[in-house]
Amino acid sequence: MKFYMIHLMPFADLDLNYDKTYNSAWVTLPNTYYDPSKGAKLYNRYIDELVYADELGFDGVCCNEHHQNAYGLMPIPGVIAGALVRETKRCQVAVLGRALPLLTYPLSVAEEYAMLDNISNGRLIAGFVRGIGAEYHSTGVNPAESHDRFHEAHDLILQAWTRPGPFAFEGKYYHIEYVNTWPRPVQQPHPPIWIPSQGSRETIEWASHPSRKYTYLQTFSPVDQLARFMALYYQQAEKYGYQASTQQLGWATPVYVSDSDEAARREARPHIEAFYNKFLRMPVEMLLPPGYLSLASMQAVTDKIRSGPAAGGYTIEDLSAKGMIICGSPDSVAQQLETYQKQVKFGKLIAMTQFGTLPHDLTVRSMELFAHKVMPRLRHIGEEAATAQVHAAE
């Protein structure tokens, strides 16, 4: 298995009582809740944590992209990635943004990623996402065009990297006479591409296509959903006539390690509960504007969300039972991951080792325990080609 650390860079100093006045930490939460003197310290602390992951032997570090919220302070992830490609020496650097439909000029992503790939000398992982629904409220971009813009912007960027320029790109949303991207990426034909998603059949059909075979990441989902979507990827690959490799599948989830299960749960509790109940809080209208999901998926997902956690929100017990955090002693975390890996057959673990309000000392200690005592035990699994066992996950 390969191990990556992802950071969301939350505004951890958020007044968690904001929800007495506002219904979300997104879109409409006044930015006066952000304190720049605290934010300045947080940014530097968070960059240090990512750089430390490289020293600890993680295979990669990941930045994220979200806009106008307290949940994640990386609206322009390239700024963080630019620092990381210089400060890290060995690991890959993934940008698990860019939200392509939100851009009027998506060729800037071809440029930005190519620059990062050059400066890091080929260590970039290129993420492509649509952003979450809230971002269509925040930016004004039409969610009804989200899917089409994503696909067209993706095609434009891939062509910019792989076709000799200049050439004309004649799309519906982007029509550019002279596509001629400088610099060209170091990794040829292009950097590895990851597609983070909350899970949708359409995304899996697209990402697993033989012309792409992109790494699909399931983000912050219960294990039963993870299992369903990963099985879907394997089945879809078979329909396309090939066997998907475990390395095409990744799982992004919060991870916390301490001396014992009891200590881990006690230490992580307020921070993971803040993550899910405060930082991720938003009404369904904010999360799912019309067009963000296909009409086919909309109804089921809306029902699921409206029937979400009880009034008090999620507890760490609920979250652990659902696999929405992997938490415990090094032994127990290794066992949980081994069990899930056997069940689901993913080859990449994207560990969110800081979440919500988790402070620096606990974050670092958990990362050290994970790197020294968990990673070595799991290195050998998830590297084999997928086998027919995946059908057991159905």
Binding site: V27, T28, Y136, H137, G140, V141, N142, P143, A144, E145, P283, E285, M286, P289, P290, G291, L295, M298, Q299
Partner: protein, 261 residues
């Protein structure tokens, strides 16, 4: 006559659902963002005076969603073709909200087929500094409460438990509305430049408690269309055709009768 006939018409390659009832000169009603699947009391009353035609727009309700549907201009051209296909002349065109925007755009393009134009709380323009309500961010409760002045109507709406079929239709309508009106929000910056081209008699009607498109939009629209009259309905929200049916019918029939004289 009060019972409508239901049919499908194919125009510009798009099959649209249509209700039609009554006798007299044609009255084409263009619905708002929530669609028009049922024969409302408004249509029943108007059909005592007019041949009332209520299509569901391409992209909405039981109508197809054609590949060509991108913006309100597409629907304005579509309804010109629709009127040609049905042989409609001297049409009394009534549009509400999104339908008012389509009607205004259609009239800017060509008033030839129109006898009168009635715009009920139309979308389509922006008044600087006067934001519209953000219907896409409203919860179902806020949505119902903000649409009506009379909160009893909101209560009734909130008590409804739509079946799966109806929910699918609502989601389809919301998607079409977003496609047409998310950005810029419920207007076309070019429309106001050409509203002076509207050459048929025009009546504009607004609820004085409209929380979606505030009443300040009424005078703005009136001033952009030569000779247009504005009527403001008291104690009325964004849906005069539901909340003030009889007043709206009275205004429309009086306006059309005066034009005919």
């Amino acid at each position: 006559m009060s019972e409508p006939t239901e049919s499908f018409e194919t125009v510009a390659g798009c099959k649209v659902h249509m209700l039609r009832g009554g006798r007299g000169s044609p009255l084409l009603f263009l619905h708002g963002g929530r669609g028009a699947g049922v024969w409302l009391p408004l249509f029943r009353t108007l059909s005592e005076h007019f041949d009332v035609i209520v299509p569901e727009h391409p992209g909405f309700g039981r109508s197809d969603t054609p590949e060509w549907l991108d913006n309100v201009g597409d629907l304005a051209n579509f309804y010109h073709e629709f009127m040609d296909k049905l042989g409609l002349r001297n049409v009394n065109l009534v549009g509400t909200s999104l339908g008012g925007w389509i009607a205004a755009d259609l009239a800017v393009r060509n008033c030839g087929p129109l006898r009168t134009l009635t715009l009920v709380a139309p979308a389509g323009i922006h008044v600087q500094g006067v934001p519209k309500g953000d219907l896409f961010l409203w919860t179902p409760e806020q949505f119902a409460r903000n649409l009506f002045f009379d909160q009893a109507l909101a209560e009734t709406m909130l008590k409804q438990t739509p079946d799966d079929e109806e929910r699918r239709r609502q989601a389809k309508n919301a998607l079409a509305l977003a496609k047409l009106g998310w950005q810029p929000r419920l207007y076309d910056p070019n429309l106001r430049k050409w509203l002076h081209r509207v050459s048929c008699p025009t009546l504009i009607i607004w609820g004085d408690n409209d929380k979606l498109i505030p009443p300040a939009y009424g005078p703005a629209f009136r001033d952009l269309i030569p000779g247009a009259k504005l009527e403001v309905l008291a104690n009325c929200g964004h849906l005069p055709h539901v909340e003030k049916t009889s007043e709206l019918v009275a205004s429309i029939t009086k306006f059309i009768a005066e034009v005919g004289q």
